[in-house]
C-alpha cells in the first residue's frame, strides 16, 4: 500500500468515525422515543393488555372490533370526513390567498399580511378553540350577528349536521396561513419568462393559471395535500375543546377515541389498534403521494 493510499483510507475511516459519533445522540433518542414505541404499539394492538390482572393475545380481535363496531366505524368515517373537508378547505383557501398576495407591495404591508394569516398557525388550537367555542355558542357572537341580519340562529356546535363543518371552519382559519406561505414561495419560483410570454400571446389569466402556474407548482400542492392530511387525521384538541366529540358521536375522531379507550377504559390493546390504523392511513396517503409525484409531476 502506497503512502498516499494509506493516508486516504485513514482519512476515510476517521470521517466515518466522526459521522457515527455525530448522529449517535439523535439516533438513540429516535430509537427510544419513536421506533421502539411504534413497534411496541403494533405488538400491543394484537393483545389484551392489563399489567395487573394479566394480558393475553387476542389476534386480530381488536381490529375486527374496530371495523365492525358501528360506533368505531362512525368514528373512522368522522375522521376521514374531517380530513377531506379540512384538507380541501386549507389547501384551496391557502392557494387563493397566495395568488392574491403574490404581488409587489410595501414591506410593512407584507409584514402585516404574514402576521394576520400566520399568527393563528402558531397559536395552539387548545387556546383559540376556547375563544371560538364562545363565538359558536347558541347565544354567542355569530348568532347575535345573524339575528341582527334577520337570519335564523344556527346551532353551530349543538347539531349533529353543523358541528363538524363548524370545527372545519375554525381549522381553516387556524391552518390555512401555513399553506399560503408555502404556496407564495412556490409561486415565486414560477419563471417570469414563461408567464410573460403567455401574457404577450394574450392567454387569459385563468387559463395561464391552469396551464402554467398550477402544473409548475403541482409538486408543492401535492406536498401540501399530504401534509394537511397527516395533520388532519390526528385532529384532537380542536374537537375535544369545542364539542368533546359530540353531539352524540357526531364529531368524535380517532385520536379522541384512542385516549378514551386507552386511558379512560384501560383498553390499551384496542387503543393501540386504532393508533395503528391511523398510522397505516397516513403511510398509505404518503405512499400514494410519493408514487404519483414521481410519475406525474414534471419539473
Amino acid at each position: 500500500m502506497s503512502n498516499t493510499e494509506f493516508v486516504r483510507s485513514e482519512l476515510r475511516a476517521s470521517q466515518a468515525r466522526a459521522g457515527y459519533l455525530f448522529i449517535v445522540p439523535a439516533m438513540l433518542l429516535y430509537l427510544t422515543f419513536v421506533l421502539a414505541p411504534v413497534v411496541v404499539t403494533v405488538i400491543l394492538s394484537f393483545a389484551f393488555y392489563d399489567p395487573q390482572f394479566g394480558s393475553h393475545w387476542v389476534g386480530l380481535d381488536n381490529y375486527r372490533r374496530f371495523f365492525t363496531d358501528p360506533r368505531s366505524v362512525q368514528i373512522f368515517w368522522n375522521t376521514l370526513r374531517f380530513t377531506a373537508m379540512a384538507v380541501t378547505g386549507n389547501v384551496t383557501v391557502g392557494l387563493l390567498l397566495a395568488l392574491a398576495l403574490n404581488r409587489v407591495m410595501p414591506a410593512w404591508l407584507l409584514y402585516f399580511f404574514r402576521l394576520a394569516f400566520f399568527l393563528p398557525v402558531i397559536i395552539a388550537a387548545a387556546f383559540v378553540a376556547i375563544v371560538w367555542g364562545y363565538f359558536f355558542q347558541d347565544s354567542g357572537i355569530f348568532n347575535y350577528y345573524l339575528s341582527h341580519l334577520g337570519l335564523p340562529a344556527v346551532h353551530w356546535l349543538t347539531s349533529a349536521q353543523t358541528a363538524m363543518p363548524s370545527i372545519v371552519f375554525m381549522d381553516v382559519w387556524k391552518n390555512t396561513g401555513f399553506f399560503m406561505v408555502i404556496f407564495i414561495a412556490a409561486l415565486q419560483g414560477v419563471p417570469k419568462t414563461i408567464t410573460e410570454a403567455a401574457i404577450m400571446d394574450g392567454t387569459p389569466s385563468w387559463r395561464r393559471f391552469w396551464r402554467i402556474t398550477l402544473p409548475w407548482i403541482s409538486p408543492v400542492v401535492f406536498f401540501a395535500i399530504v401534509y394537511a392530511s397527516i395533520g388532519a387525521l390526528q385532529v384532537y384538541e380542536s374537537i375535544w375543546i369545542l364539542t368533546k366529540g359530540g353531539p352524540g358521536d357526531a364529531t368524535r375522531s380517532m385520536s379522541i377515541n384512542i385516549v378514551e379507550e386507552a386511558f379512560g377504559s384501560f383498553q390499551i390493546g384496542y387503543g393501540a389498534s386504532v393508533a395503528v390504523v391511523m398510522t397505516v392511513v397516513i403511510l398509505f396517503i404518503t405512499g400514494v403521494q410519493f408514487i404519483v409525484s414521481r410519475r406525474l409531476v414534471r419539473y
Binding site: 419513536v34 411496541v40 402585516f112 394576520a116 357572537i141 414561495a185 393501540a272
Partner: protein
C-alpha cells in the same frame, strides 16, 4: 392600449390588496377579542353587541388567575421548562446529526437518514401508549421532564438543518480539512456560525410546537402541578364556569404572549424555516 391595461391591472392589484387587508383584519379579530376580554369586568364581558376592542382596562382578571385554585404560576413554569429543554436539546442533537448527514461520508449514511425520515410519518398517537407505560415504570408520569425527554430530537429538525447545510457552500470546510482541522472543529468553527438563521428558525418552530403540545401533555401530565398551559385553559374554563370567561381570557393572554412576541421579533426566520421545509420536500 398598453398604458390602459397596466393602469387597469394596477387598480386590480389595489382592489385585491384592500380586500386582503380586510380579510386580514378579520383573521385577527379572535385575538383582539380575547385580549380586550381579558381587561373587562365580568359585568361588561357579556354585553351585546360584542366589542373587539377594550371597553375598560382592569387587571382584576389577571389577579384572579393567579389566585385561582389552579396553580397557574407552577403550570407556567412547567411550560417554560419543557419548551426550553426541548428547544436546546433539538438544536444540539439535530444540528450534530444534520452535519454528519450533509457533510460526512460513512457506510449506511443514506439508509440511516431514510430511517430517520420515516419518523415524519408517525403521529404521537402511535408512540404515546408505550411511552406512557414505560414512563409509569420509571416514575416519569406527571413529571414535566418526561414530556421533554420525548422530544429531545426530531426527524423534522434533522431534515430542516440538513436542508440548510446542503444549501451552503462547503469550500471553507474543505479548506479547513486540508489544513488538518478535526471534524469537531470544522463543525464548531465553520459550519455552525453559517447556520445562525437556520438555528433561529428551528429554535422558534420547536419552541412554539412544544409550547402547544396538548395530547401528549394530557396523557403524560394529568396532575395540576405537572401540567402545561394548553391543558390548564380547559381546566380553568371548567372550574370557573362560563360566567368567568374574562378570567380564562386573562390566563390565555399570558399564555400566548411568549409565542406572539417570538413571532413579532423573528417572523422572517419562521417563514423561512417553513418555506425551506415545505418547498424542498
Amino acid at each position: 392600449m398598453g398604458i390602459t391595461t397596466t393602469q387597469a391591472s394596477r387598480w386590480i392589484d389595489r382592489a385585491i390588496i384592500s380586500l386582503m387587508a380586510v380579510l386580514g383584519i378579520f383573521m385577527l379579530l379572535p385575538f383582539a377579542w380575547l385580549i380586550s376580554m381579558s381587561f373587562r369586568s365580568t359585568v361588561d364581558a357579556y354585553r351585546m353587541p360584542p366589542s373587539f376592542f377594550p371597553t375598560s382596562i382592569e387587571f382584576t382578571n389577571y389577579i384572579s388567575v393567579l389566585k385561582a385554585s389552579v396553580p397557574f404560576l407552577q403550570i407556567y413554569i412547567n411550560s417554560v421548562e419543557i419548551a426550553v429543554i426541548v428547544t436546546v436539546g433539538q438544536l444540539v442533537t439535530c444540528t450534530l446529526a444534520a452535519f454528519a448527514f450533509a457533510r460526512l461520508k460513512f457506510r449506511g449514511r443514506d439508509a440511516l437518514f431514510f430511517v430517520l425520515l420515516v419518523g415524519l410519518m408517525f403521529p404521537a398517537q402511535v408512540t404515546l401508549l408505550p411511552i406512557f407505560l414505560g414512563f409509569a415504570k420509571v416514575g416519569l408520569i406527571n413529571k414535566p421532564l418526561g414530556l421533554a425527554l420525548m422530544y429531545l430530537t426530531s426527524s423534522f429538525g434533522v431534515f430542516l438543518m440538513r436542508q440548510f447545510m446542503l444549501s451552503q457552500p462547503k469550500v471553507l470546510e474543505e479548506a479547513a480539512l486540508m489544513d488538518g482541522a478535526g471534524y469537531w472543529k470544522i463543525f464548531w468553527r465553520i459550519s455552525l456560525p453559517q447556520l445562525r438563521p437556520a438555528l433561529s428558525a428551528l429554535g422558534i418552530i420547536t419552541f412554539t410546537q412544544t409550547w402547544n403540545y396538548y395530547l401528549q401533555a394530557k396523557v403524560l401530565l394529568g396532575q395540576q402541578n405537572a401540567m402545561t398551559l394548553p391543558l390548564a385553559m380547559d381546566i380553568l374554563r371548567g372550574y370557573l364556569g362560563s360566567g368567568n370567561l374574562a378570567v380564562v381570557m386573562a390566563a390565555m393572554s399570558m399564555s400566548v404572549l411568549p409565542v406572539i412576541i417570538l413571532f413579532l421579533l423573528a417572523q422572517k426566520f419562521v417563514i423561512e424555516g417553513v418555506t425551506m421545509s415545505g418547498i424542498r420536500n
